[in-house]
Every structure is written in structure tokens, then in C-alpha cells.
Symmetry: C2
Subunit: 476 residues, 2 copies
């Protein structure tokens, strides 16, 4: 392939050795996604150490007709950061070397950081300045801030602080032709024409490469209280959400749901994980409330709410963590759900959101309709109740391999998405489209909406060389 | 003019009489902006009663080459909703007849409303469902929701709840060629490709006409406390902001700044407006904290903070409103600032934002540099301290007419914008560009940024017929 060898020769002339890797062995770890669903060859791994190097690389790729696949921590669930099959030459551009925390400003409540900073490192830098970077998700130990912006990541604190979009004040982006747009402003308000950064947030690398960002920080809560409630059905989960929201508003920082199936998975695969309840229950809600007031008596405020809900039969039971160890044990039940599912052999995953009031009906429709489509399949449904965002993961019958289910994957997904969209919901709440959900996007969005997205893509990436085969295809 | 008479004849054939006005007398009230800065002729007033009628009108305008100027409550401060001079035929499309509140859903915490709903009516509809629509600004009695979206309005609660962008979950937009994009989703999370609604929010009518929206509501606070603090300089204002933010976070719902000049204007023009302080002071900060907890003792939480700040000399004095009447009196001082200024003969207005820490230096530079540029001119500086957003309004010397100053307007604005932009700030925080700030946008944004905005405009409005001469010009 002349095209690729010309490109790599140009790369070697223009950039230091540390900035790229070409051997198959070196490329391999970048080519497979975290779930192991996708594994396609790349032409090169680009490892820019700066915005300038990123710009040079995109310019070279543009000149040589090499497509660019931006990659952060490679923790995405829809194959958005790895190459597609059967395309032309694709270079993976990993931001992992761009790890500078340029500044943390506790007066302005902002931080400016490079895209390759691990989310947890960014959280720690904020904490060191006595501030909170309020984005928290399971992959925080390995995902990169740039990736969380490119995918508009959510997680367990969206209820109080919003998704990543809500935390981004400014961006630096390298465009497909190598031009650098410096939009690193650190202002709360800036109404000066079309807000370009909004177009890049959540665009999954199809418009350019985010190299740095200014993020909004908030004061750190001084007190928090974590509780686990046992319920008998989703209507009760909503009643609990409503009651705590009325009393705590944005002090309700997490409201997570999981079912008995999830608890069982976790108990089986996580050493020491046990239900704090003597009896078994159909479902659970994990709540966390937080206050900036160091003297706040959160227990005194929430206990009357719980008492009322237990008395009127809304809650079957409830426990409040009495110390940090108990708090971590409750959270471990929620956090281990994905790992438990993985250990049990995996699942066909869905990441849906519906209007809050529709949750009980949607869950009922899915649970009652599923046996017809996939007899014996076990739904493991959990997620961010307060955002209307649930992960509807379908596992094979007990003792059977996931392969059995994969043959029915299209029907299962189509059934679940149908129920969700009919209820005014979305088939992708926080995971994005990547290469996994292209068909769903095409099916569930109007042709006008897709046409507008393609037209905007065409403006920023006229040759369609950024992250090909993700989100949109050029022709249709 | 054949073009216009052809258009109005087509209009009369296609639409009911209630949907347009053609006489000069009927057109006049729509042609002048609230400040009286701009007054240019329109070819027709379009008054759609529905999304369908809006679509028909845009189609007709598109076919006849008539430009469209969308207009909400016409309360903007930069001439964004009235025609420009010396352009071709322009029809003003007022949304005032589209006033349906389609639904308010207290379970999902959302409302779906048409663009022409007055902001105050929307607030009241939310209140009737025991919810808060957390956007509040001086013009709320006459501005329309569609206008607040098209301008990404801010106001006095941005600190806690964000600007309008943060409250919009879904949009319905009629494109320049009459196609309707229905993006009225009511979800907290929806990561499905490029987020089109973000492009329309804050785009000031240059990309299409917003006809309806789904907005996010929040629980209504059950308790609030309002206080006015007297300070001797802006450093102290920041110390006060920081201290209350650390203790109240998003429970600090307002933090407004004004100077002695503003207080004097208000006292002179607002019957009964008096300072609650015995002595005079250089500047003031109006604070409001709010809690969802009906039993919250906000005074007990804030008094120790105030005591500490009075003791260490940060605050000169402070009063806490003891009842609703006192609360309204304190707010009246802040809210009457624009009216007071207007009654005194007007001012050259600026709407700037800077990083919070830069406020004292920026104010100092402006106040010390101004006499050289406009001897005797009086700055009236006030605004949303917590957002870094101040209105830097320059009034003529005592007893002189504003005309004197208008001759120096370009120099004054250029000086103030220079100081602000050098400090990492913006020349338009919440008012937008309209026709007043086109030159500033061109001066202070990179050519790449302007080029990208123009390219996106070209995608959505290829004939450049939407709100011509606002925000961007086609050629440069």
C-alpha cells in the first residue's frame, strides 16, 4: 500500500519517534474495544504530545487520505473509538500523552486540562483545590476527559450536576484539515454567535479532535448520606424519587435503580457483597444526598421521608449507611453490576432513557414481551433512575452461553427500542452511537434530522475522513 | 415593488386574515426595538397561529425572496428582532399568537410550550403545578419564551440553574425553506448524534424559527432569605460571593452587584426606594439563598458567615430582609436600575463577562481609564456578580444629554471591550450580537471561528434570508 507507506514516511519525517507506533504488535492494543466486540486493523497509532503535534498529524492524514479514529481511554461501549471493518486506511489517534492539567482555578471555579487526562486524575486535581469536578462514572479510573466530552458522558451524578455538556465552558479542537480552533474561554456566560463548542460536545470524534477543555468546578459537599431502599415495583421507585427530590432538589446527587437479578449477579461474583436486607425484594433504589453545610443533619431530614414511605407501603425496607464502610458496601452493589454481568458471560446491552413517568410501563412492556422473543432470556435492568436512563441488558438463560442470544440480538434490540421510542424515549441515553447503533439512529430519527447532521458534518469534515463509519454514513 | 406585492398577494391567498398585517400603521409598532435605537421598515407583519402557518409563511418568503425577521416580545437590547437598514424586503414574523401551553408534567418535571408564551405566563403555569421554571429576568412580563431560547437568556438565577440553554430539553424549529424539524423530546439524556437543538439555542433567529420547546422544571424552593451587603470595593464582593458559595452552593440563587451611582439613580427615580443603610457606601451585593427544606433555618446558617465577614472588615454592613415586604424593597433597588438609568436619560450599554477573579481589576481599569476617553462620563456598573457578568453602562456627565456621549460611543465601547477581552472576557454575556455588536464579533473572534459560523449558517439557510444583518454577514 503506497498510500500508507507514503503517509508513514511523511510521519517519520515530520514528527519525533515518540509520537507514533507502526508495528502490528504496538497497534493491536488500540484496535480492540473494551467489550471486545470490534477488532479491525489500523494503519498507524498516532500519539501526539501537544496540540501542535495533533494539528500536524491531522494535516498529514488529510493530505494522504488517511482516516482518523480519535481514541481516549477506549472505555466506550459502542465501538466509537476503534476502526471499522472494510474501510480505507485508518490511523488511531490516541490522546493518552496529552495529560497536562494546565491550571485549576478555585476562585473562578474552573480547570483547564488536556484531553488525555484520566477522569480520576482530573477529579483529584479538583479535590486538591478543594473543589469538585462533578462527573463520576464506572470507567473513571481509565476513561479520558476528552472522551467524556466527545461522548457527552453521564454517570451517577447527572441528576444534580448535569451531563458533561453542562460542565464544559471552553474547548480547543483540531479540525480535520489541521487548523486549530481555540475556544478555551472560562466564562459562565458568553452569547457571541453560534456556540461552536456545543457542536463538538457529544459528536463522537466525527468533526475533529478535542485537545483541551475548560471545565466548570463546584464546591465540594461537606456531608453526604447514602441509603438503600427495597421496593416491590418501579412505581414505588418513582414515588421515592419524587419524595426525595421535593425535599432535596439538587442535593439529591444520586438515585440509582437495580433489580433482584442484578443483586444476585453481584452477590455471586463480588466477594463479600451481600444484601443488607434480611428478606429478598424485587428491586432496589440507592440514594445519595449531599450538603455543603458541614453541620447539616441529613439523617434528620431524610428519616421522616423514609418513615412516611415505609408506613404507607411505598418502601418495603430501607437502610442508611452509618459510616464510610457501610456506604462503600452499598455503592459496591451498584457499581459491580456491569462486572457481575460480564463475569456471568455478558449481555446484549441497551442504554435507554424515557420520560420519568413512563418508566414503570416501559419496564412492564419489556419484561412481559421479552419471553416471546427470547424464551428464558434474563433481563438485568439497572441505572440512573433520576435521569430516566436505564441500562436494559439481556442475558442468556441460566447456564447458557451468550452466543445463543446473539443470534436473536437484532430482534431483541428492535423490540426494546420499539417499546422505548413509542414511549417518547431514546435508544441511546449516554453511550452514544459509535458503530454499534448506526442502524438505530437511521431508523428512529427523521430523514430531515439525519440530513441536517450530515450537512453539518460536511461543513467541518468535507472529505468525511474523521472517524468514518461512526454515527453517520455519508451516502445514507 | 412587484416582489412585495406578489408576496402579499400569495400570503392573502394562502393564509387567513388574522395571520398577517400589511398597513404601515399596523407594521409600525413591530419595527422599532425596545430601546428605540433601530427603526427600519418591514414589508409585512406575519402572525402565525400555529407551526403549520409558520411553515407556510417561511415557504412563501423563501419562494418570493423575502427575508424573515423573527420577533418574540421585542425586549432585546441589541436590535436582533427588528429589521436592518438598507436591505431588501423584510417580513417581521411575530410569534405572539402562538401562546399554547401544550402540557405541564410535574412527574417528568417538564413543560411543552409554544414560542410566543410570555415568560411570566410560563413561570405561572409551572407554579400552578408546584414547580419552578428557573429563568427570571427584568423583561419577564413581556419577553417570550421563544426569544429567551433564541438568545440563550440569562438573568438573576443563572448561578443556581444555568442559562436558558440549560433548561431546554427539546425544540420544534421551522427551517428557512418551511421544513419543520420536530425535536420535542423531553429527556434528560439523549446522546444520538450531533445535538441539533444546541445549534438553534442562542442563534438569534439566523437559522430558523423556534416554534415550540420542551423545558426542564425544578422543585420550588420552600424557604428563601434575601440580604443586602454594603462593601467598599469589588474584592470584598468576591470574598462575599466565595464565602456564601462555599456554604450554599446552588442554594445561592442570586448574587447581584451594584454601585453607589446605581443606588442614587434608583433613589431619585423610584418612589419610596431608599437605602436600608444609615451611611453611604461605595457598592452593594444583593444575595438570595433558597432551600427546598421547609424547615431550613437559613438565617442560622448565613448569620455566622456574615458575622465573620463583618468582623474581618470584608463587609461594611449587612441587612437581612425580615419579611416579604422588606425582601421586595431590597429587590426593587436592583430591579429598578435599568429603569432608573432610562429615566435619567439613558446610557451607552455594555454586557460583559470576565472570569470571576478578574472582576476587581477590570472594574478598576475601566473606572480609571474612562475619564481620558469621555471626561465626566459616569459609569453605572451592575449585574450578575456570580456569573462574572456585569452591565457596564456609561452615562453622560450630570445634567448633560446622552447625545454628547453618543459622539464618543465607538471609542468608549472599543475601550471597554479591549479591557474585557484582554482579561479573558467576552463583550456579550447575555444580550447577544443582534445588529448592534456585529463589529465587535468580527473584531474579537478569530477568522476561523467566524468562518465556521458562516459555514453552518450556509447549511441551514443557504440563501441567507433569515434575520439578515444579525450576528453575521455573508461576505465578511
Amino acid at each position: 500500500m503506497n498510500q500508507v507507506s507514503d503517509f508513514t514516511a511523511a510521519l517519520a519525517r515530520a514528527l519525533p519517534e515518540s509520537a507514533f507506533r507502526l508495528s502490528a504488535d504496538d497497534r493491536r492494543p488500540f484496535e480492540t474495544d473494551w467489550r471486545g466486540l470490534f477488532n479491525n486493523a489500523s494503519a498507524a497509532i498516532l500519539l501526539p504530545g501537544s496540540t501542535d503535534e495533533t494539528a500536524q498529524m491531522l494535516k498529514l492524514c488529510n493530505e494522504h487520505g488517511i482516516a482518523v479514529v480519535p481514541q481516549g481511554g477506549n472505555t466506550g461501549l459502542v465501538g466509537g473509538a476503534v476502526p471499522i471493518e472494510n474501510s480505507g486506511a485508518q490511523a488511531i489517534l490516541s490522546l493518552r500523552r496529552m495529560r497536562a492539567i494546565r491550571n485549576v482555578d478555585p476562585l473562578n471555579n474552573t480547570m483547564e486540562i488536556e484531553a488525555g487526562v484520566i477522569l480520576q486524575a482530573a477529579q483529584q486535581a479538583a479535590e486538591a483545590a478543594d473543589r469538585l469536578l462533578p462527573l463520576s462514572l464506572a470507567a473513571e479510573g481509565s476513561c479520558q476527559v476528552g472522551g467524556t466530552i466527545a461522548t457527552n458522558a453521564g454517570g451517577i451524578q447527572v441528576l444534580a450536576y448535569g451531563s458533561m455538556r453542562n460542565l464544559v465552558l471552553g474547548l480547543e479542537v483540531v479540525l480535520p484539515d489541521g487548523q486549530v480552533w481555540n475556544g478555551l474561554r472560562s466564562l459562565r456566560k458568553d452569547n457571541t454567535g453560534i456556540d461552536l463548542k456545543q457542536i463538538f460536545i457529544g459528536s463522537e470524534g466525527i468533526l475533529g479532535v478535542i485537545t483541551a477543555a475548560t471545565l466548570r468546578l463546584v464546591p465540594r459537599p461537606r456531608k453526604s448520606l447514602t441509603a438503600l431502599a427495597a421496593i416491590s415495583d418501579p412505581h414505588q421507585a418513582l414515588a421515592l424519587l419524587r419524595a426525595t427530590q421535593e425535599n432535596f432538589g439538587s442535593e439529591l446527587t444520586s438515585c440509582e435503580y437495580f433489580g433482584a437479578a442484578g443483586l444476585e449477579l453481584v452477590s455471586r461474583h463480588l466477594p463479600g457483597a451481600v444484601s443488607p436486607f434480611a428478606n429478598s425484594h424485587p428491586a432496589f433504589v440507592l440514594l445519595e444526598v449531599s450538603s455543603l453545610d458541614a453541620d447539616a443533619d441529613l439523617a434528620a431530614r431524610i428519616e421522616p421521608v423514609f418513615e412516611r414511605l415505609v408506613t404507607d407501603g411505598t418502601l418495603q425496607d430501607v437502610v442508611i449507611a452509618q459510616n464510610e464502610t457501610q456506604r462503600q458496601r452499598l455503592w459496591a452493589l451498584r457499581e459491580a453490576l456491569s462486572e457481575g454481568e460480564r463475569a456471568a458471560g455478558g449481555a446484549i446491552k441497551h442504554d435507554i432513557a424515557v420520560p420519568i413517568f413512563a418508566i414503570p410501563d416501559v419496564l412492564h412492556s419489556i419484561e412481559s414481551g421479552l419471553p416471546e422473543i427470547a424464551p428464558g432470556a434474563r433481563p438485568n435492568i439497572f441505572g440512573h433512575l433520576g435521569d430516566g436512563n436505564l441500562h436494559v441488558n439481556i442475558m442468556p438463560p441460566e447456564g447458557r452461553a451468550i452466543d445463543l442470544l446473539l443470534a436473536r440480538a437484532t430482534e431483541i434490540t428492535s423490540f426494546i427500542e420499539g417499546v422505548v421510542v413509542a414511549a417518547g424515549g431514546t435508544f441511546s441515553a449516554e453511550h452514544g452511537i459509535g458503530q454499534l447503533r448506526l442502524k438505530s439512529l437511521k431508523q428512529h430519527r427523521s430523514s430531515l434530522e439525519l440530513e441536517l447532521m450530515r450537512a453539518i458534518k460536511g461543513v467541518l469534515d468535507p472529505k468525511w475522513m474523521m472517524n468514518p463509519g461512526k454515527v453517520l454514513n455519508q451516502g445514507s
